[in-house]
Symmetry: C2
Subunit: 649 residues, 2 copies
Amino acid sequence: MGRVTVTFQPESIQAEAQSGEKLIDVAARAHIDVSNLCGGQGVCGRCRVRVQKGRLSLTDKAIGKLSRKEIEQGYTLACQAEILDENVEVWVPPESTTDVQIQISDYLVSAEESAPVAGHDYEPGPIVRPLCEKFYLELPPPSIDDCLSDLERVYRALRKSIPEFPFVQAHYSCLWGMAGLFRGNDWKVTATVNLRDADYPTIIRLEGGDTTSANLGIAIDVGTTTVVAQLIDLRTGEILGAQASHNSQARYGEDVVSRMIFACGPAGIAPLTEAITFTINSLIDSLVKKHKIRHRDITSIVAAGNTVMSHLLLGIEPCNIRLAPYIPAAARFPQFLAEEIGIKANPQAFLHCVPCVSSYVGGDITAGVYACGMYEHEEISALIDVGTNGEIVIGNSEWLVCCSASAGPAFEGAGIKCGTRAILGAIEKISIDGDRVRYETIGNQKPLGVCGSAIIDGIAELLSSGIIDQSGKFILLDHPMVQVVDDVPELIVAPAGESASGEPIVITEDDISNLIKTKGAVLAAVRVLLKTLEMDFMDLEKIYVAGGFGAHLDIEKAIFIGLLPDIPKERIRFVGNSSLAGARHALLSTRAFHRMEELANRMTYIELSVHPDFMNEFVAALFLPHTDVELFPTVTGKLKERQNGRPVQ
Amino acid sequence: MGRVTVTFQPESIQAEAQSGEKLIDVAARAHIDVSNLCGGQGVCGRCRVRVQKGRLSLTDKAIGKLSRKEIEQGYTLACQAEILDENVEVWVPPESTTDVQIQISDYLVSAEESAPVAGHDYEPGPIVRPLCEKFYLELPPPSIDDCLSDLERVYRALRKSIPEFPFVQAHYSCLWGMAGLFRGNDWKVTATVNLRDADYPTIIRLEGGDTTSANLGIAIDVGTTTVVAQLIDLRTGEILGAQASHNSQARYGEDVVSRMIFACGPAGIAPLTEAITFTINSLIDSLVKKHKIRHRDITSIVAAGNTVMSHLLLGIEPCNIRLAPYIPAAARFPQFLAEEIGIKANPQAFLHCVPCVSSYVGGDITAGVYACGMYEHEEISALIDVGTNGEIVIGNSEWLVCCSASAGPAFEGAGIKCGTRAILGAIEKISIDGDRVRYETIGNQKPLGVCGSAIIDGIAELLSSGIIDQSGKFILLDHPMVQVVDDVPELIVAPAGESASGEPIVITEDDISNLIKTKGAVLAAVRVLLKTLEMDFMDLEKIYVAGGFGAHLDIEKAIFIGLLPDIPKERIRFVGNSSLAGARHALLSTRAFHRMEELANRMTYIELSVHPDFMNEFVAALFLPHTDVELFPTVTGKLKERQNGRPVQ
């Protein structure tokens, strides 16, 4: 088999390849991150690239995913194309790279949460301290009468600065070069202290002069599909910037189960750990570049992710998570030296993972429970986190129960033909007004696709307009914006002429069917958990909804399609990425971090997969909004009004 | 300049060399540890080697150190011989290698301290624990009803095993492969726990099965001249073996000051750190080989050394120790990962240094004060440690003061023509009976040289026989065992025909002069310290004498020459290598380690170099036993008896 050269445009990056190799693997090796939500199964169709010179082999699967026009233009799917015995040049369009998405999603994440953290356990000041804090010390130079060693001199000064930590240790690496550092900087130094363990605060770094203004942290939401990182000023709590990206692990499988199967196979965990650290490093690199900071000023990192993501990030075997009795290797994690798992930051910076509850309720949920504050109040509330899985927590300041349901990443744009994450150019709102379909895009850009909030809008509008029925089937096929392609009816949201790619942006009957399964799983989980507690929807005083839908989730429409329980909408609050918010809280407050450890311990996990009611509840929920009309009285009312010819809001 | 090959015999080890290089540097590169007490200055004459093939250049200095016969036989000094443009083969005689000494000194060290540690703070059992302990755990396998994570399962089992440590952490490296380890070993595992910090016990290793019987520690006395290591069973406290060697740093300077000058010059600390870690690794390797153990079973290491040795071992700048106001970078050291400073043991084993008091009173003295127990009693006692420096501590359970005097390594055999450390074949006792000189060697071997205890014997006997006077000059030159070589008179202890080398073993007038300076410095330090305390010799209820003199220090003779104060000999106890004993205590008992931290804090250091009385006291002590006869009443009495023609003793 011959060796050939593959050139990736527009960057003109070249890579050597072997004939027979998949193009997507060559791209991965060249660190060109081609979108690949389905893990190379030829299902998601996100890895479209155009062959500009030379040829590639093409499978039938790829042909099925591409339009005739695309095939004529030379498009193929990178995961389905194999290298032949000739050099080839391919063009990776911006919408097929995660790189571009990293850049544009910044807008959204930082817009959503630009205010400094306040409340809860974070009050900058002497009582609550970040996981890693810098202290500027002006040490008195030694003399015959004050001949303490250099190190004890630092300890003495720190005891004055942080009287609540009388016993400070130094990591041994601080001692190397310390004597010269002190004398070369006129005894003015800054000590970076890891405060995670109140019993064992540790100086991890000593620098000359006052560098307290450069103490940065990274909060990360490690999602199965999407990874979001925020750069935090640990002194002020300010969010300096945010970046998001696809999780590069996607090439090894779309969901946690397929990634576990890969990790526990012959290749082992390493490729998955490398993929996620690659993703995190790209996010950090972008933040470092954009904000003109230095990697060494990043002194602590907090990651919140589900249990499998946490294991894979830390290089820990997740294999027993999917085998009865479903035991994670760890749920509360020790701190890991970031460098040792390959993450670029200060060489002494630690990575802290938010503790998990069980194999299927992870640190992202612990972080979310903390961030929404439901654990503080007497009133009973619920957190519904819709990511690649759906997790539900119900409880109050006295008790908390939780469960997990495999939902699928439909709301993050995967499994949806024109789905996209909430990035610049994503359609975030849809309304149907008679024959016309209106939409709004993030940043008023040319539309790229539909994000989660718009899919909810679209389905709700299709249902209330009578274009689809309650089972999600198209019944009004003569609507001017409805067309049938390959026997599948679809709504044209943006015609070809308006979209960024020149292709129409649509919502298909298959998309709706996928989404109904996702929302059905979430609602069924809520129902089963409430039943176990002998409670009803109305017993929930508050529902916090978290997830990557977009910036503006229309609560009423989410109720209308049966994703959220039919309770007064003022009781429901969309809290965005609560996992990320929790990670940020932990970074900024050791007290918050320890509270999360306590919460993870306190939450009672209910296993749905063995629950006798779950399957019935799931089937009952595969309807818009639900087969049991009494569960959704207001929706039922509105649907009746529609049948009576009156407009539905 | 050409490249040539140097062959070292008897091992036939070959090394490449450049013409112009010193032979001793080539040997060092080939890891042939040629004795080199003077740091390559051509002074100690220990690096004799014989050229068997080819030629080497030879300096005048070398010629002055060699006898005519040696020169005829082809002997040279490795530190003074330069490689020429031709291949060369040299023979390294056993007495010139430290390797041989490593092997033979084992006898002595383990004979001296073969009993398990007992008393003080070490009682094997639940209350006092070694710095690193292994716990065998039979974990209940997880089930649906007991679905704790693998890691929490270990924590829970450990809490039962060591209820006094409710909060145990795991080092992150333990999590890698842990899940498979547990399941592959039927949930029977051994946890190795670092207990140095009671507030923060840390699992550093997890192994399958019961490996508690293999938990080993290394106690090291890091002397400026000699390094001694003991292999300790951390479960029983038993000393399994001991090895000693020259400190390879000697090639960079004989004493701490010259090594500091080297370390603070352009080459930096690294060569010195590498030299001492090389020495320690050789000792560990020998112990590993001899006792058929594995490096990975060495789970903790405690080193006791003077402040400069401690800094150089840990790679910390010692530069300010020799500049006013004499400030060490650190006196209490954090634990160092042994691997990170290049020491071969378990990859997660820590090296702990016994804390120092000040720049010139180090961890060896703290360890000694602990080991002799003087800090526990109300009675006032002194510790006199005679190594390359002499350190004195006086005090009791309420107060402790200490000082240091630069003594020189005469008692360890350096600066003495036929001096040697207390190794197999070393002459350890000398008596002069009329015209005859009798001697005893360690192990009844052919004599190699005289060790510290024999030099004291020899001088005392020379003085009481009237062969030398109280200033150390030979006055009885017609004694049959006295000869004059190159104008310097000397006592023949063992004639050429009896010695291992075929050369006579002698004590020269220069040797005596060197030794008088050493003993003078020690005694002057004791005097100044006592004066400061407004005390006399007789106020000392007990004197503990430590140092590498040999196994049998004759206390009476040490008093007779004025090395030790003239107090009743039953008050004086020779305690051998108390630094090593203290290191062993620390290894076996966290309580002992913390007590040493406390002791180092409590000791008050008196700086002799600025003390107005020291120089006068030193000069007054340059006499046998002392210029002030009243200070040594019993010795004066004996000398008077001798003058009256009656036998001494």
